[in-house]
Symmetry: C2
Subunit: 231 residues, 2 copies
């Protein structure tokens, strides 16, 4: 093979030297140019290798100031927020959903703020229960900005869940997500077949597409649900 270094191998090599303690956290490492010299590679290649490490949060790079090993590496986890149907079907269970409520109503203040609507503007309010083998799996409370997605008014939400309809129709939007624990209200408790006050894992999302706020949703999972990932 040729004597070239790949940016991957360089990345790994540098990473190892960092973890071995050669440059303790907080210290400045040698410059790109020096490292490239040392490994006999082009500066661009070393640049790429170091950028990978910078992306992963291991080092911080600043023009003129040099490359610095980060003091405490915060763990970065990639979480894939699964489509509920996929999650259920992956476990071999039958997916089902039922629309518990579907109405157009003035958005309450909190929702209006999240969707950047004027207070009192009407929006579509949906409550949906997702089932795994007939058992309740998650309870969804969703508001949709009708102005941004007029087509949803006529969507066949009995066949395709609101979640999937929106993902299919308005893809690649960006948004905020927050994870928390909340006590089940009487409505969620009844839907999920648990007692009010039970600890529910809750995911709230607000998504938009280029200035247009689409939807805000709160998903409460049945008790015991865990969201897992590797890091």
């Amino acid at each position: 093979m040729n004597p070239h270094h790949t940016h991957q191998s360089l990345s790994l090599a540098i990473r190892n030297r960092i973890t071995a303690g050669e440059w303790p956290p907080g210290t400045v490492m040698p410059s790109e140019t020096d490292l490239a010299q040392e490994y006999q590679c082009a500066r661009a290649t070393m640049n790429r290798a170091l950028q990978v490490l910078a992306d992963s949060g291991l080092i911080e790079r600043k023009r003129r100031a040099g490359t610095r090993v980060m003091p405490l590496p915060s763990s970065l986890a990639k979480i894939e927020i699964p489509i509920i149907r996929h999650e259920i079907e992956k476990r071999g269970a039958a997916f089902g959903h039922s629309i518990l409520m579907r109405e157009t109503a003035p958005a309450p203040e909190k929702v209006a703020r999240q969707l950047h609507l004027r207070k009192g503007t009407r929006a579509l309010h949906l409550k949906t229960l997702y089932q795994s083998d007939q058992e309740p799996f998650a309870y969804e409370d969703r508001w949709v900005n009708i102005q941004a997605v007029p087509a949803i008014s006529t969507a066949p939400l009995d066949e395709v869940s609101p979640n999937e309809w929106l993902v299919r129709d308005v893809p690649y939007s960006s948004g905020y997500v927050s994870f928390s624990a909340s006590a089940a209200g009487s409505e969620e408790a009844a839907a999920l077949g648990t007692r009010p006050g039970a600890a529910l894992f809750t995911v709230s999302r607000t998504t938009w597409l280029a200035n247009r706020f689409i939807t805000t949703v709160t998903l409460s999972y049945r008790p015991g649900y865990q969201l897992q990932t590797k890091l």
Copy 2:
């Protein structure tokens, strides 16, 4: 300014064309070479721009097969699991921690399984309370594999929290994380100043470093805590 395109602007431009539906999910986009031609930039630049989109999961690239728009973009959220001290100090509060318990004991079965220890092997068991401005913030229940990290036996955990000590001493390990909601037990409730049964946001982690299982930890945050991120 100069007429150059940056890979960032190109990335954005392509992303916009995708979200606008020019290339629907599943279809192959024009080749790097063609796009570079179209935008009058070097192929390397377009390559970098497309790599960014590939990293974010929007497109998939294969040699010879070309670049394909991914069918259903499962929402991928990057979550930074914050170091508790940083999280508290970022909000301008004073960080504190106190070790509620520190003992060496035989690992219960569940812990032994997670740390790949033989049942009954002794391990370090720590219970720690993290405080924000004297108020309880999070409760940590941690087991540490002494064989993997013997130095922890003599670590000054009153000064540096177990969390930080481990991160500093055994950095860059990999691990599993799971998020869930759980009802406060009497111990957590007392420590966090809430009532038993309250809904707590809980993060469990097991980390290892090259075959050696280091530690498994369950963190319960005070009621109302939210883990937020953008996607």
